[in-house]
Subunit: 343 residues, 2 copies
């Protein structure tokens, strides 16, 4: 193109009749600019369609106008939705978003986080999606000049947004118990479900707490570990049915595992809720299609909220007070795979 030359700060200075440096101050909302100057500068900038060069600005020690979104995997339903929502918020805040997928590889993560300088050169802040860092990485990051926020982490020294996995699992189990089921099995995630190591463990804890409240002893045979995938759920449920026993109800640690379980049940002539009640967690887009009862987690909301917090910190030059851990609600959505026990 044609790239008709963009207006520079010098053009704005000339047009407004003020110096470059006053323009710079005015446009960044810094103090020590008279009302009159401010107005003339804004008018000039507007008329010229001026937009600061991010490269020049960054080089001179200012902002890049960019944030990084870092996720273990961009293809999963969860991340795709959360990332899109976050990107939208950033775009509305005038920030470009750099996407960094860890591809599920710890080594990519470590290369990146062992030296946050890598980032601080190109972005103003990072939004972490379920990326588990070790203590020294957390420290390095929080001491960097970067603004940080995350989704689905625990005990981090920056703004975090997530759900209460333990409570969600408890609610799911509680639903089963309330329907009169006491012979419960759990398809428990055996690995980071959204990259967060703790998710699976917490969901298991919620399950156990609900049983405990009813003075029910969890049957080890009924706790089967399953990767948080359709196939994982399929394998686990198949194993349960064919080598152990058919429980009265099943709590799948995530919806995708529940889908697999559904398939395994069907293959064994069992159906939900007729023979077995089945509940999941997540409210995957396919869940309503399959009629799966589940405990929903708000996915775009988590991404958007965390992005908003990060954008605000950036706007306020990071003095937004102490970091906060936000837990979003997880409503139970009763559909067709659970019903009252006949016992």
């Amino acid at each position: 193109m044609t790239d008709r030359a963009r207006a520079t700060i010098r053009d704005v200075a000339t047009l407004s009749g003020l110096s470059i440096c006053t323009v710079s101050r005015a446009l960044r909302g810094l103090p020590n600019v008279s009302l009159d100057a401010q107005k003339r500068i804004e008018d000039a900038a507007e008329k010229l369609g001026y937009r600061a060069s991010s490269a020049a600005s960054r080089l001179a020690g200012g902002r890049t106008g960019q944030v990084a979104i870092i996720a273990p995997k961009a293809t999963s339903w969860f991340f795709a939705e959360a990332v899109e929502a976050a990107e939208e918020v950033f775009a509305d805040s005038g920030l470009d978003t750099v996407l960094v997928s860890l591809r599920g590889q710890g080594k990519v993560r470590d290369r990146l986080f062992d030296d946050p300088t890598e980032f601080s050169q190109r972005v103003d802040g990072v939004l972490l999606f379920g990326v588990n860092l070790d203590a020294s990485q957390v420290e390095a990051l929080s001491e960097s000049r970067l603004a940080v926020a995350s989704v689905g982490l625990e005990g981090v020294p920056w703004d975090n947004v997530g759900i209460d996995d333990e409570a969600a699992a408890w609610a799911a189990t509680r639903h089963l118990l309330d329907l009169g089921h006491w012979d419960l099995a759990m398809l428990a995630g055996s690995e980071p479900s959204h990259g967060t190591v703790t998710t699976a463990a917490q969901r298991r804890a919620g399950f156990e707490r609900a049983l405990d409240e009813e003075h029910l002893e969890p049957d080890p045979d009924m706790m089967v570990s399953a990767p948080s995938t359709i196939d994982g759920g399929y394998q686990a449920m198949t194993e349960l049915i064919s080598t152990r026993r058919v429980p009265g109800a099943v709590f799948a640690g995530c919806d995708e595992a529940a889908f697999g379980a559904l398939k395994a049940m069907r293959e064994h002539g069992l159906s939900a809720p007729k023979k077995v009640s089945l509940i999941g967690i997540d409210d995957h887009p396919m869940s309503s299609f399959l009629g799966l009862t589940t405990v929903a987690q708000p996915v775009p909301d988590q991404g958007a909220f965390a992005a908003t917090l990060l954008a605000e910190r950036l706007q306020n030059h990071d003095d937004g007070g102490a970091p906060h851990d936000h837990r979003l609600p997880t409503p139970l959505i009763e559909r067709k795979t659970t019903r009252r026990s006949r016992h």
Copy 2:
């Protein structure tokens, strides 16, 4: 952090005993550098962990080291997978990827593409995913200094990767015909399926061509338009069954529509392939789970291939010859929703 100062080009120059400008040339692979100098510079850069500042480099008129991935929507299965694959290729080529989601809104697209200067300031190239541009936007983009590549477009003056939608639809229909079905219905996409206006139309054309080859007249009643979503397929199939007639076989313009069709059939006591044979296109991750026969399109491959072409253009300073339109194969995957007609 601590941000221990990064090595600059000056450090590399000092350590290697050469001038800044020779270092700059050497590191960018430009000619006019002696073998000896080249080696000393590379060693020094390596030892210092030197990486050029993208801001400085950009400001001085060089590269940004960034590419933009522009997609209508980051949440759909197709884009999530293709984008991730592309991001991976870019990362391996040392490029950061800026994610831009159009959120399905034409106005966001137009604001962006009516003035590509917007981009050229921050990225070296753009990868378009099914983003339909009008003629003047295409021209502006191709005349810009940006390298461009795309997935799923048609007749554009840059590298493009996609599938042959018409041929894929033909193959799907052919499969039905080969099974002895002649009473065919199509659930035809009524809108941009992946942002590309032409996808739906081409799939419809492929369907019609296959019928035509058998001298079958397409029955207008059996061509029902359906948004390319589960619900779209559900509504369309419901309408077909309840207000028209039950065909012998159904070709769904995409797998998600096929899922919805499956549900509608089930609700009407019909099952595939018992009463009706059903085939889709895409090979959505859920398709194997549901046993759907389909014509697969390679999704990560399309993203990765297009990204590779773009990265190569960038590497070769864009003199890679004339742009090429690549069509990837779409194999038929026979599963459980189609079978031989009993007529």
